[in-house]
């Protein structure tokens, strides 16, 4: 027994050391590359002038004055901060230790501020920080819900390429039901049901008929696009007044919290669907990792046969997870037609489902990280919006491309290795 322990520890220790050292250099090198690109941008395309950051709007409880900074100087200072972090990362790596997440966060924020200063330089308009962040929260709602739903399904072993279709179905049905009933709540519930229905089809084909999950997902997206567009042309366009004009959820400022500078208007002057999201993210995490249901879901996603041999009904567990995931995605779908705007438009989700899928992977199948990835992608999209208002020199298309590029780097292992649930993608065959 003793011999086993000692000997097993030997190679294990060696293994640990190796893995750490390679992973760490990856981080440092990554930071270095980003920093070089950043410096090149500043050198090759200097923007003189000053940048104006507005930290509040005139209607806010606490009105902060607009900050005006010299653009290039700020950009370089931020670059210097980045350089410091890089140096710290190199030192840590030399010592054979990991680069802490906070360092990477500091690096990212510094370069982002510098980039914004550079981009907003010389613009007569203020760059509204509240608008940037608040808009990002808004844009990321469907992404976060989509990613959460995707995580639940994949944790149970069912890959969900059909998030896009689920969002679209949710948005469509929410528009109709919301318009007929004049109640955004009814629309919200209807979206949940519609999205769960798409999930049911996904489940029936992948779990019961064991059809390849990617195929079903792709085809379901086409099916939902076809159905919603068909009914949109046949029903919604001719009856726009009665069937396609919803009452939206009102913004619901939360007293006190709302009056915190910057954060208040960004986070706590939102609609109920957004507040639900604040609850849903930790709730899904807690359910997956702390409850009996979550343990069983993860078990059928990792090793369904083992789950079966301890008496867990794999098929039932997977159906349940897929349906719950679908319902969560539905909340995001409702966002389009009962929060964002008050009517449905053809293919209005415009690929958000695929960004959500990217967030699932970028977030390493973890609800919190996936939600953060969704926020990040929402931020990138809104950054593009804001920059185009300020009149930034970066083509909007490249900003829009960003989430996809980042995900590409992530799946290629350049931004940390991710590991999918072992049985995700494989149908379970009993007997």
């Amino acid at each position: 027994m003793t011999a086993t322990t000692v000997d097993a520890a030997g190679p294990d220790a060696r293994a640990a050391q190796r893995t750490v050292s390679t992973a760490t250099w990856k981080a440092a090198v990554g930071l270095g590359v980003v920093l070089v690109l950043y410096a090149l941008l500043l050198l090759l395309a200097p923007h003189e002038g000053s940048a104006r950051f507005a930290l509040s709007t005139s209607t806010d409880f606490v009105v902060l004055s607009t900050i005006v900074v010299p653009a290039m100087a700020t950009a370089w200072v931020c670059g210097a901060v980045g350089l410091l972090v890089l140096g710290y990362a190199v030192v840590r790596t030399r010592a054979g230790r990991r680069v802490p997440t906070w360092a990477i966060a500091v690096f990212a924020v510094a370069l982002l501020v510098g980039f914004l200063a550079w981009a907003a330089a010389g613009s007569p308009r203020d760059l509204s920080v509240v608008g940037l962040l608040g808009g990002a929260v808004g844009l990321s709602v469907p992404l976060v819900y989509g990613a959460l739903g995707g995580v639940v399904g994949e944790r149970a072993g069912v890959v969900n390429i059909a998030i896009e279709g689920q969002l679209l179905a949710g948005a469509f049905v929410a528009a109709i039901v919301g318009s007929i009933t004049n109640s955004p709540w009814a629309g919200l519930v209807a979206a949940v049901v519609a999205s769960a229905l798409v999930a049911l089809v996904l489940g029936a084909f992948t779990i019961t008929y064991k059809v390849n999950q990617v195929i079903v997902g792709v085809v379901l997206n086409v099916l939902v696009i076809g159905l919603t567009s068909f009914f949109y042309s046949e029903l919604l366009v001719p009856n726009a007044e009665t069937l396609n004009s919803t009452t939206r959820f009102e913004r619901l400022p939360i007293p006190l919290l709302e009056s915190i500078p910057v954060i208040g208007p960004v986070l706590f002057n939102q609609t109920i669907v957004v507040y639900l999201m604040y609850i849903a993210v930790p709730a899904v995490w807690y359910a997956l990792f702390r409850t009996r249901w979550g343990l069983q879901v993860r078990a059928v996603g990792e090793h369904p046969k083992a789950a079966d041999t301890v008496g867990i009904d794999v098929v039932k567990a997977r159906y349940r997870a897929v349906l719950i995931g679908g319902a969560v995605v539905g909340l995001g779908g409702a966002f389009y037609t009962v929060v964002s705007i008050n009517q449905f438009g053809r293919e209005m989700t415009a690929g958000a489902g695929f960004i959500a899928l990217a967030a699932v992977i970028f977030g390493k199948w973890d609800p919190l990280r996936a939600a953060l990835a969704g926020l990040l992608f929402g931020f990138a999209t809104n950054l593009q919006n804001v920059l185009s208002v300020v009149g930034s020199p970066v083509p909007s298309q490249f900003m829009l491309m960003l989430p996809y590029l980042v995900t590409l780097l992530a799946v290629a292992g350049l931004v940390g290795r991710s590991r999918a649930p072992a049985a995700s993608g494989t149908p379970y065959t009993k007997e």
């Binding site: 190796r18 343990l295 083992a306």
Partner: protein, 514 residues
């Protein structure tokens, strides 16, 4: 709890996997179910565990007829199973695995991990070993994983415990420890079913032995029966594993392996500075418990391992660092350990599989185009020569029996011009008739004057084929000894004891090792 199986019959179509099997296991007894691979032992236990439903017969627990619709029912009734392929979720902790399926929860379905941890520690403590309840299962050594399986079964208060081929992945030492655990369980009053095909283990631990062959109970035996008696019951005829071969006639050709080291993806050293030489016309058998680096060694020889250092010289030419294709081209024949995974494309026809590694030029490929006529003629020839039982060369290989599949692999590899043959587990899962045929072919290949490396975890096979035996343990070579070395010495070597020491110890003490 007393377990009784009465007239259990399980059919798969026309095939009777279990034919009116009767079995009684009393509390406080280790009942050994002995039989060859495919004799129907596992089917019987899957019936008991609720994974299959018997077509006829009854399962009685304490004289009460029970039916199990699934493993859940069986577990609720007090039956626990230690599966051959562990049923553990690799990324879960020990505690999570143990509680899975019967989770104790606090209000609102929240997991009560603390009680699971306590349960793990308590059960492990009973058997005098320690398992960290928060360790992630995939990080644990195989032997410890098996203990987690046992704890899992015991945590559900199993009174009947089924061990399905539990020793296949264990070292002799770990096997001993497992047997101690089994004895303790027996003494605590559990009824234990021990499924195995290894005779020595049976005699070491069993209180009663039931031998199964072709789905039928063919007899009972006492633990005092000799190996020969048990074996002939099991196989149905006198076992003859000796292979007729002449003394080796060494040639000039040779394989020289020096300081070969294979490192796994996560930095583990899987083959640890291995050096050996095989002369032409000689068979070197690599023996050892499964998972001690033999697989990685053979894969390194043919270039299938990524991180390899050291040198492999075949007739003076260095092989390390070359691509698989180049190594095959330089005359290395390779029979992989897992033929259906690594050796054959199941959906391809026999003809296609026979040329699988020969598509880089004439005669089967000319100017990028497959030469179908040449290929088919070749295939027909080889099917006849190797006596592959099939409808025709267009049959998909996945449909063939294990023995016939292995003949296809062998036919493909031996029909190239070889300078070295590496065969890993050449007769695993192969019927007795084909075993003889395959052994004969391997010896014939040796007699053409090339070096042959055979890996086998079946000591009998290694002894039968070898001119010399190399024993591996934890990636290292324990020693290279003549084929005439006594089995008990080889057994000790398989546990890591160097040959000098192993041959020095008193063989009397080693009765239940190996």
């Amino acid at each position: 709890m007393r377990l009784e199986l009465r007239g259990i019959t399980k059919r798969f179509g026309a095939l009777v996997a279990n034919d009116h099997i009767d079995l009684v296991v009393a509390p406080g007894e280790i009942h050994c179910l002995l039989g060859e691979n495919g004799a129907g032992k596992s089917t019987l236990m899957n019936v008991l565990y609720g994974l299959y439903q018997a077509d006829e017969g009854q399962i009685l627990l304490d004289d009460e007829v029970r039916t199990f619709d699934g493993p859940g029912d069986a577990m609720a009734a007090g039956i626990g199973m230690v599966h051959q392929h562990f049923m553990l979720v690799p990324v879960f902790t020990v505690a999570e695995n143990v509680m899975l399926g019967h989770e104790s929860t606090r209000a609102g379905g929240v997991l009560d991990l603390d009680s699971a941890r306590d349960r793990v520690t308590e059960i492990a403590g009973r058997f005098g070993f320690h398992v960290d309840p928060d360790a992630v299962v995939e990080d644990l050594p195989v032997g410890v994983q098996q203990r987690v399986e046992i704890i899992k079964a015991l945590s559900r208060d199993a009174d009947v415990l089924v061990f399905d081929e539990p020793t296949a992945v264990l070292t002799p030492q770990e096997t001993d420890e497992l047997m101690a655990i089994m004895r303790q369980l027996r003494d605590e009053g559990a009824a234990i079913v021990f499924i195995t095909h290894k005779l020595r283990e049976v005699r070491a631990v069993a209180d009663r032995i039931t031998v199964v062959r072709h789905g039928k109970v063919v007899g009972e035996a006492s633990p005092t029966a000799t190996d020969g008696e048990l074996a002939s019951l099991m196989v149905g005829r006198a076992v003859q594993l000796t292979v007729r071969k002449d003394a080796p006639r060494p040639t000039e050709s040779e394989l020289v392996v020096s300081d070969l080291r294979v490192t796994g993806a996560d930095g583990q050293v899987l083959v640890d500075d291995v050096s050996f030489t095989v002369r032409g016309g000689e068979v070197l058998a690599v023996a050892g418990v499964q998972g001690n680096g033999q697989t990685e060694l053979t894969e390194a020889l043919v270039g299938l391992q990524g991180s390899v250092s050291g040198s492999v010289r075949l007739d003076g030419k260095e092989l390390v660092g070359r691509s698989v294709r180049r190594i095959l081209q330089s005359g290395v024949g390779f029979v992989p350990e897992d033929r259906s995974e690594d050796g054959l494309v199941g959906e391809f026809t026999i003809a296609e599989n026979l040329v699988l590694d020969r598509t880089d030029g004439p005669p089967f490929v000319r100017r990028g185009a497959l030469q179908l006529a040449t290929r088919d003629e070749f295939a027909r020839e080889k099917v006849a020569e190797y006596d592959v039982r099939t409808q025709g060369i267009e049959t998909r290989v996945g449909r063939l029996s294990g023995g016939n599949q292995q003949k296809v692999v062998l036919a493909r590899e031996l029909s190239r011009e070889l300078r070295l043959l590496v065969a890993a587990q050449p007769t695993r899962g192969v019927d007795v008739g084909s075993i003889e045929f395959i052994h004969k072919r391997i010896v014939e290949t040796r007699d053409t004057g090339i070096p042959v490396v055979v890996v086998s975890t079946e000591l009998d096979e290694a002894v039968a084929l070898a001119d010399r035996i190399m024993v591996m343990y934890r990636g290292r070579v324990v020693g290279i000894v003549p084929a005439t070395t006594p089995r008990d010495v080889l057994g000790l070597m398989m546990a890591g004891v160097p040959p000098e020491e192993a041959s020095g110890t008193d063989p009397e003490n080693e009765g239940d090792v190996a």
